[in-house]
Amino acid sequence: MNGVPPARRLLRHRAGVVGFVITTLFVLVSLAGPALVSEQPLATNFRAILKPPSWAHWFGTDELGRDILSRVVHGARISLELVLSAVLGALLAGGGLGIWAGFRGGYVEVLTMRAIDLLLALPGFLIALVTITILGVGTVNLIIAVGIYSIPAFARIGHAAALILRPVEFVQAAISQGATDLRVLLRHVLPNVLSPLFVQASLRMATALLLASSLSFLGLGVQPPMPEWGAMLANGRSYLSTSPHVVLFPGLAIMLVTLGFNLLGDGLRDVFDPRLRP
């Protein structure tokens, strides 16, 4: 197994391949989809309200006659932007903080990691809710809330990796040659921390999407009429008895994409970081 290059090992990981395919499809749909669907996601049509799926509207229409397929496709773009910015932000902030703390040691390390411990001592959802309370409701604030929620996981990985790397010869050699902290971190520490961080990022995309759509569902995230999947479900809730298709498709989309991230993350973890395997 060890001589095989990682890409090929991932190809042999059946669940990982499924995850990769779903994730790629999701990215393609969010990039190209909005150009491919003919209907506008915000265009209302009061002559076609709550129509079940048909040839004209594959996923049916909602309470304002808007085409649900178009809304789900445009929602993919919103979801991709949400989770990508939240998770990448958390990766940079949390991973950077953790690596720096582990590398510097001393009171910097103690203070940073205690703060992270405190975040972990609280339910993550609560932290997101408090963030929204302080910042207010809105898309950017939602991203910040989801990002803060994801920071501790990255910080701990970065910290652990930096602790392992600090005493290793090539790092010590660079330090003794007078390399600046920044150079040592970027050139020698960072490349060796990337793979666990990216494995974590893929798994975090799944929780980030669930959290972001939950908050939007609660009315605390992306606001209607934006076609965010969670917000669409909140609207469709009132028409559950007469038109179940309104809640069916946005929910399926959330589940499928989350599943994709989860499977891809599991696959990447098994390939790049077998030690983390539960």
């Binding site: 609560l126 309370t133 609660l218 989860n262």
Partner: protein, 306 residues
């Protein structure tokens, strides 16, 4: 054990103190003037001023915090801006409902997840194992609120078997509890499977088999008992998750718990309620974590806490 306990209780105290600072800070971090917010939109400027003095908002931050902490310790969490009811009384009844929902869900999750995970490990590599693995990955990817809506659509609307929302009798808890349990089932089954696989690989299991014990005793007595210990930690973690997810589940089913109260309070910027609810949820989460760690140590004699 005793020094460990003392240290953990001290740490719990610190966490609670930090949470109280955070909760206090909410009031100062929100944009705008808290006094104006509390007085309401149509309050006259002199009313706002009077309220500012009455609430002590004209004092320095540390004085305000000291007073706030003093009130919290004596159980005074202020009054809701909307209902004018004392927050503590509101929270008490809401907490009861949340606790009921969380406990039933955890029981459901254990009753389903544990056997699923253990049997998957025992019959490793079979179709049953892959089915269980698939289901648990699906469960981990399921948006709680969507599952809740689908269950309402099927069992309440189409079949008319169970009520859609509210909190009146035992049948009202079924759908919310199942919805909330879905994610926990997945992670409990996953952990149970891997713990059980570990346990089955140990020497004492081989010894038990070698001395001719029947497979049922080997699995049930020798392996399962040891596999259960790490599971306690996971079940504890699930509680934290349940608290979070319950805000969503409670909203879907209009279950009158702390989560629904908190979400409503955030929407209406009802600050005293937000502060009280956050404090309560954070405190109970920290307490459960401590209890789980202690339980863990008691169950596993190999863990020595010093």
């Amino acid at each position: 054990m005793l020094p460990y306990l003392a240290r953990r209780v001290a740490a719990l105290g610190l966490v609670l103190l930090a949470v109280s600072v955070l909760v206090f800070a909410i009031l100062r971090l929100i944009p705008g003037d808290p006094a104006a917010l509390i007085a309401g939109v149509d309050a006259r400027p002199e009313e706002v001023e009077r309220l500012r003095v009455a609430l002590g908002l004209d004092q320095p931050a540390y004085v305000q915090y000291g007073r706030y902490l003093g009130r919290v310790i004596t159980g005074d969490l202020g009054r809701s801006l909307r209902s004018q009811q004392p927050v503590a009384t509101d929270l008490a009844t809401r907490f009861e409902a949340s606790l009921l929902l969380a406990s039933v869900s955890l029981a459901v999750a254990l009753a389903v997840g544990l056997p699923a995970g253990v049997t998957a490990a025992v019959w490793r590599g079979t179709a049953w194992d892959s089915a269980m693995t698939t289901i648990s990955v699906l469960g981990a990817s399921m948006p709680t609120f969507w599952l809740g809506l689908i269950l309402i659509g099927f069992f309440s609307v189409r079949l008319g078997w169970l009520p859609t929302s509210g909190y009146e009798s035992a049948e009202y808890v079924v759908l919310p509890a199942v919805t909330l349990a879905a994610f926990s089932v997945a992670s409990i089954a996953r952990t149970a499977r891997s713990c059980m696989l570990d346990a089955l690989g140990y020497d004492y299991v081989r010894t038990a088999r070698a001395k001719g014990l029947c497979e049922g005793v080997v699995v049930g007595k020798h392996a399962l008992k040891n596999a259960l210990i790490p599971l306690v930690a996971v079940v504890g973690l699930q509680f934290g998750y349940l608290i979070g997810a319950s805000a969503v589940t409670e909203t879907v089913f209009t279950w009158p718990g702390v989560g629904l109260l908190l979400v409503d309070a955030i929407k209406h910027r009802d600050l005293p309620v937000i502060q009280g609810a956050v404090l309560l949820v954070a405190a109970s989460f920290a307490l459960v974590n401590l209890l789980v760690d202690l339980l863990y140590a008691t169950l596993d004699p190999r863990i020595r806490l010093t």
